[in-house]
Symmetry: C2
Subunit: 179 residues, 2 copies
């Protein structure tokens, strides 16, 4: 009888631990920030293996020392590579002047980068300090660029990130250029 | 008998055309410039489907209106993406300051880009006008960068070009950074 009591106790303890673990996971998944990251991945058409990278991308320097500043540097170059690659692939004879003109349009914080980021709702997702305005173009743009670094690292291929950018923005390139 | 004479004439003409074609191809392949491009591809570890892209990459603006200027723009962004991607993949916590420092080292014309190009012997390959010095850092650097645009377009993937750059330069990054 004694051994069955011990067995019963072990099973009960294990069940308790299992339930606790489940509750913790559930709690993590159900935070508003985590939910927003889930939705964002659907909008991007990219599912992260490591969502920590997307969490980092959505963290402004005012919120934490662990933030998206370095990611934004890689993200900016990924965008530039993607745009100049697609333009040159489409027209190998494009002039350097025209190529530079289109590149500067696409990398402009006010008219392009922050617009794309706001369209994705990043100003509602990015984590900032209470004193920082999450809708400021530099904040939204930094978060937007950082996404493409996160995808590059997560997938091991910057081209994947460039393709996500191109899908998000590519359709508008024609009209943007016509402005 | 007449029809066999005609048949004989047709066969003879076709053979002549075939031989002429072969001679032309052989002539094209055996030009010093073409030979240099063949050697360059071996050094790069990349074989072009369309060598015209590499010809363009090795053509300075002083030589032709069809030159490598636009290619050099894409090539520069490919290098930046490759470097920042590898540094961030290796150390996700790298500071933005350190990342920028290493990026500016790698993109420096005098100390990095032209050095890499000269090591590949590009100053002996790049086509320039008689009045232009093919060893000038800006000329060598432009040709070096343009290679990575040519590989991006030829393979359809900028990542391939980034990997070629990383293989060429990556081993030196540690020591270059230590300077």
């Amino acid at each position: 009888m004694r051994s069955s009591t011990v067995r019963c106790f072990i099973i009960f303890t294990l069940l308790l631990l299992l339930l606790q673990g489940h509750a913790t996971t559930h709690k993590l998944l159900s935070s508003p920030f985590s939910t927003a990251l889930e939705t964002l991945q659907k909008q991007l058409g990219y599912t992260f293996k490591s969502t920590d990278l997307l969490r980092r991308a959505m963290t402004h320097a005012s919120f934490s020392e662990e933030n998206n500043k370095a990611f934004a540097i890689l993200g900016a170059t990924v965008i530039e590579t993607s745009v100049s690659f697609h333009l040159l692939s489409k027209d190998v004879d494009i002039s350097p002047k025209e190529l530079n003109r289109r590149l500067s349009q696409i990398t402009n914080v006010e008219s392009s980068c922050a617009v794309d980021g706001t369209r994705l709702g990043l100003h509602k997702i990015v984590r900032v300090s209470p004193k920082t305005n999450s809708s400021a173009p530099a904040v939204v743009c930094g978060a937007f660029r950082a996404i493409f670094a996160a995808i590059s690292i997560d997938s091991g291929m910057p081209d994947n990130a460039g393709n996500v950018f191109w899908n998000l923005h590519g359709g508008d390139l024609g009209s943007a250029v016509a402005l």
